[in-house]
């Protein structure tokens, strides 16, 4: 409370009432102010400012270094990615080549097999044709034989004299006709 402090310093106070304008206290205030300012200045320039400045510089350096390292790592990651993409593309090309090679090999094998099969088929077909012709020929021969024998038997049965040569000639003529 304001009234508490009133008694003690009453003697020093002016009638005017503004302690700020009591010039008798000015030397005291100015002296101690200068002491305080010099102390603050010494504290700052000798200890605080170099310390804070160093800390700030160190932090800036650390941040700059870390940023540079991060940039470098980013660059490395990019390079790795590029290498990966390159490897992927190479692998794709390689596999495409292998596929093409395999396809060509298979095609060649297939061609050979096809050709072999074709040859075999045509050989078999020829064989079959030959046998069919054989069978046909033998059948024709049999027919001639049967016709001659039948004609002979018929002639003999009808009481004629069998002349083998003329029967054969007659059957042949008939068969041709």
């Amino acid at each position: 409370m304001a009234t508490d402090a009133h008694g003690a310093a009453q003697g020093a106070q002016q009638a005017g009432g503004m302690p700020q304008l009591d010039f008798s206290t000015w030397p005291n205030q100015i002296f101690w102010l200068l002491v305080a300012l010099v102390l603050i200045h010494q504290l700052l320039t000798r200890v605080a400012l170099p310390r804070i400045g160093a800390v700030l510089a160190e932090r800036k350096g650390t941040i700059t270094n870390n940023l540079a390292a991060a940039e470098e790592l980013k660059q490395k990651a990019k390079e790795a990615e590029a290498a990966y993409i390159q490897a992927l593309a190479d692998a794709r090309a390689e596999s495409a080549k292998i596929v093409a090679q395999a396809k060509a090999d298979i095609q060649a094998d297939l061609d050979i097999a096809t050709a072999t099969a074709d040859a075999e088929i045509s050989a078999r077909a020829a064989e079959s044709e030959r046998r069919i012709a054989e069978i046909r020929a033998s059948a024709l021969e049999s027919v001639t034989e049967v016709a001659k024998d039948t004609a002979k038997e018929l002639v003999a049965a009808l009481g004629g004299k069998v002349d083998a040569r003329s029967v054969t000639a007659a059957v042949n003529a008939r068969l041709k006709g």
Binding site: M1, A2, T3, A5, H6, A8, A9, G11, A12, Q13, G17, M18, P19, Q20, L21, D22, S24, T25, W26, P27, N28, Q29, I30, F31, W32, L33, L34, V35, A36, L37, L39, I40, H41, L43, L44, T45, V47, A48, L49, R51, I52, G53, A54, V55, L56, E58, R59, T62
Partner: protein, 247 residues
């Protein structure tokens, strides 16, 4: 002094300078309440700026962070306002700022003594800035320092008039510089005491205490802003002495 019936309010008593240890006269060397609160300000500044930063951590602690914040704030202010050349005088500007800030804020502790509410203190600060800037200006620029009074961009006929006005305003600087700070602090603290006096009357005490709370908050703002204003004006004056003409 206000007097309301039996109520005695002495809002100016808080500013009385009195010896710490006896009731004798105040000599220039006598330890007084001024001495106590000035040294408390020094200790508080030391606690923040020296003890608070003792770990030198890359990732700062809270107190170190505040110290770095103040350092960066004032450093940027000096560099932005006074220019690159002004950075040499950064320690002096920071001394002023920290002293005024801590004196103002410590003065807001109840029953404390506000050193910066005394004209004696602020006049010394303002004169130090004024004389420092003037001497520095002449030392760096010689007679050319007077060129700032000669407004070469104005019409020739107006220049003498403008020079007169400039010179007057130059010499008014320390007055406004010091009275602004002391006046703000003194007025705020006196108003607080007046309301504190009214608070002892039961009828109006809720209002008075509410008003004290509000004014206290305002005074906290004023304490910081006046420290900032004093410092930035110091930088503006410093620019006249060290800055380039074309900035």
């Amino acid at each position: 002094m206000a007097e309301t019936g039996g109520l005695q309010i002495h809002p100016m008593d808080q500013f009385i300078v009195k010896p710490l240890f006896n009731d004798g006269a105040v000599h220039w060397y006598t330890p007084t309440n001024v001495t106590l609160w000035l040294l408390l300000a020094v200790l508080a500044i030391g606690a923040l700026m020296v003890l608070g930063t003792r770990r030198r951590a890359i990732v700062p602690t809270r107190s170190q962070s505040v110290a770095e914040l103040i350092y960066g704030f004032i450093h940027d202010m000096v560099e932005d306002v006074a220019g690159h050349e002004g950075v040499k005088y950064f320690p002096y500007v920071l001394t002023l700022f920290l002293f005024i800030l801590f004196a103002n804020v410590l003065g807001l502790i109840p029953m404390s003594f506000t050193t910066t509410s005394h004209v004696a203190v602020t006049v010394v600060l303002a004169l130090a800035v004024f004389l420092g800037v003037t001497l520095l200006g002449f030392a760096r620029k010689g007679v050319g320092f007077l060129g700032m009074f000669w407004v070469s961009s104005a019409p020739l006929a107006l220049r003498p008039v403008l020079a007169l006005i400039e010179i007057i305003s130059y010499f008014v600087r320390p007055v406004s510089h010091s009275i602004r700070l002391a006046g703000n602090l003194m007025a705020g603290h006196a108003v607080l005491k007046v309301f504190a006096g009214f608070a002892s009357v039961a009828l109006v005490s809720p209002v008075a205490i509410g008003a004290m709370t509000a004014i206290y908050a305002l005074e906290l703002l004023v304490a910081v802003i006046q420290a900032y204003v004093f410092t930035i004006l110091t930088c503006v004056y410093l620019k006249d002495a060290v800055g380039d003409a074309h900035h």
